[in-house]
């Protein structure tokens, strides 16, 4: 499961990388199929299933009715009986429609059955604000999933990560959520042609630094890197860590970094209050208490639904400036 060396890297968009990952999985796993709303004929509303139904046939890539409970239920029943479903949930907000199938069936079946069932189910879904899609199409709800024993969750932030994490997710014998960011769909990056898997357990040190730790995931990784570049002038040399996978969470890498840097900030796009950032901050202070020179900060969205108007939304979504402001306030600089 080591990461492949990128011998034949090309530049691909995030969408193309997702597409390539699903294609790879459908090729390597005869019992894998993909199912979701409008993913067959149309290739998905954002196109990341483009061409797959034509290539693999309508008995590998299925258009489903608008029935999210049905889609996840399909995955549970098929996953428990020898298939490897790849389900598309379109927008993460739609988890509301199928939280029972996610939380009470998919996540718990194996445990309730004393370990007798395998649920090799991959769920792709899109999170994130920034496209003026308002309150019901812009949420980042990873906190719901992280709190749920029985599922894994990762949030790829580059085309490279998208391909490698989806392949890992699909090879895993557990339910894995792959949370994509809708604002990153056109993002370009190097992606090896070869098949490679990024382990669902290791954080990625995106930018090494010496005296500050920023933990960020999803699209916020890029904002964190931008913030780190701005902070340089202020004498803050921030290490940016992308956990990549939130469950299991690579606590060791984060704690090790904070022991070195003595100060930390957690950044997520989700609503700050009650978000997964609380878990990380809590773990850090527990495990690196004596190393901390300042309280651990958190940057997240305000406590409101996502507003529609771009005039509001642009202040709602955390960005590099908000991170810089947060760091400055925390350090009193």
């Amino acid at each position: 499961m080591a990461e492949a060396v990128a011998t034949k890297a090309r530049t691909l968009t995030y969408v193309a990388a997702i597409n390539e990952a699903v294609r790879t999985v459908l090729k390597e796993q005869p019992n894998a199929f993909a199912a979701g709303e409008d993913i067959g004929g149309a290739g998905g509303v954002y196109g990341y299933f483009h061409g797959l139904q034509a290539e693999f046939g309508a008995d590998r890539v299925y258009d489903t009715p608008i029935s999210e409970k049905g889609i996840i239920g399909l995955g549970v029943g098929a996953g428990a009986t020898g298939c490897r479903p790849i389900l598309d949930l379109m927008f993460m907000d739609f988890m509301g429609e199928c939280m029972d199938e996610i939380a009470n069936q998919l996540a718990k079946m194996r445990y309730m059955f004393g370990g007798a069932a395998n649920l090799p189910v991959t769920v792709l879904t899109m999170a994130g604000a920034g496209a003026s899609l308002a309150a019901q199409h812009s949420q980042s709800l990873e906190a719901w999933v992280c709190h749920l024993p029985g599922v894994k969750i990762c949030m790829p932030c580059t085309p490279y990560d998208a391909k490698g994490l989806i392949i890992s997710a699909a090879r895993d014998d557990n339910p894995v959520f792959v949370v994509l960011n809708k604002m990153s769909l056109a993002m370009k990056g190097e992606v090896p042609e070869e098949t490679y898997a990024i382990p669902l357990s290791k954080a990625n040190i995106v930018r090494p630094g010496s005296n500050y730790t920023i933990v960020a995931w999803g699209r916020m990784v890029h904002e964190a890197v931008a913030a780190a570049n701005k902070l340089k002038d202020l004498g803050v040399d921030a290490e940016v860590i992308d956990p990549r996978t939130l469950q299991p969470f690579d606590t060791a890498t984060v704690v090790q970094s904070v022991k070195k840097t003595h100060r930390a900030m957690i950044v997520h796009e989700a609503v700050r209050f009650g978000g997964f950032g609380g878990e990380i901050a809590s773990q850090i202070q527990e495990l690196a208490f004596d190393y901390l020179d300042a309280p651990i900060g958190r940057v997240g969205a305000p406590f409101s639904p996502v507003p529609f108007s771009p005039a509001l939304e642009k202040h709602y979504v955390p960005n590099a400036d908000a991170i810089v402001a947060g760091v400055k306030a925390q350090l009193g600089i």
Binding site: D63, L133, P307, F308
Partner: protein, 323 residues
């Protein structure tokens, strides 16, 4: 329950449809020119449904709508200026710019919101109907939803409860043959969504959704039944959308043929109805043009209003979360 089709009713139906059509065509252009952000689902082609139903409702009757909600709000009495401002994301919009196209609403008009969640409306409409019965009003709630939405569990639960409690609610299925890019035959094994009515103990009625008078008459019967305490109806309107699922030109997908679109355009609900109005001598061509012109002028004002309105202040973000 035969409502007489007076001239004023016919003119009213015509005006509602024209208002929707003109607003939607303009909204499409505004989106293409970058004035309207986010996702815009146009109602063009389906005007007869909203208009025929809404002509029976007062502001105290409620409706729930869909992601394709402008037409419903206009037919329910929505004004262009605060609507256009909302689509532009301005502070003067019906929702202060917080809702946008997918959540456009006006409580005073009994319009309980467009809804970004397919199937979000039916339970809410059922609840509003419950409220009408509980508060002993004679009001009804009308729930608009698509063929695609009829496959959501929320529709099922709402319909069952409405049938059980004999609630004054009309489930108006706008069957336009597609859920996004998926044709009906690929999302359900039935042709008529109305076939589901029997499973909830309510009548299922099918009507030509391109014929505003047919919709008006069928809706009138269902609404009268509901007001009389006889319970809900599932009213399926066969219709078609002329633009793409989202936006105007869409993604250039070939999920439906040009021929099919052209066939349906021959049944344009406004063209057909205008022909009939002229034939019956209710409106002359000049009068019809005057209606269009007046509506167009209204829309110009709405654009000016929206353009000149301020964006909401960032301080608004954390307001309106709690009462």
């Amino acid at each position: 329950m035969a409502v007489t089709l007076t001239d004023s009713i016919l003119k009213d139906l015509h005006l509602r449809m024209v208002r929707i059509r003109r607003f939607e065509e303009t909204a499409g252009k505004m989106m293409e020119s970058g004035k309207i952000p986010g996702a815009l689902h146009l109602y063009v082609g389906e005007e007869a449904v909203a208009s025929g139903v809404m002509a029976h409702l007062s502001n105290d009757d409620q409706i729930t709508s869909t992601h394709r909600g402008h037409g419903h709000l206009i037919a329910k009495g929505g004004e262009f200026s605060p609507m256009m401002a909302e689509l532009f994301g301005k502070a003067t919009g019906y929702c202060k710019g917080k809702g946008g196209s997918m959540h456009i609403s006006n409580m005073k008009l009994g319009m309980l919101g467009a809804n970004g969640i397919v199937g979000g409306g039916p339970p809410i409409a059922m609840g509003a109907a419950f409220s009408n019965k509980f508060r002993k009003t004679k009001n009804v709630a009308c729930c608009f939803f698509g063929d695609g939405a009829s496959n959501e569990g929320s529709f099922h639960e709402a319909a069952n409860m409405a049938g059980l409690y004999k609630l004054p609610v009309i489930f108006v299925c706008e069957n336009n043959g597609y859920g996004e890019y998926t044709p009906q035959r690929n999302h359900q094994a039935i042709v008529d969504v109305a076939d589901r009515a029997a499973g909830y103990g309510m009548p299922g009625v099918i009507v030509d959704g391109m014929d505003v008078v047919a919709v008006f008459e069928a809706a009138g019967e269902a609404i009268a039944r509901a007001r009389a305490g006889e319970g809900p109806t599932l009213l399926e309107c066969k219709t078609y959308r002329f633009y793409d699922h989202v936006g105007v030109r869409g993604m250039g997908l070939t999920y439906r043929t040009d021929d099919e679109l052209e066939e349906w355009k021959k049944k344009d609900p406004i063209d057909l109805f205008e022909g009939r109005l002229k034939e019956q001598g209710i409106l002359s061509e000049a009068e019809i043009q005057a209606v269009h012109a007046a509506v167009a002028a209204d829309i110009e004002k709405a654009i000016a209003f929206a353009e000149s309105s301020p964006f909401p202040d960032p301080s608004a973000i954390e307001q309106d979360v709690y009462a």
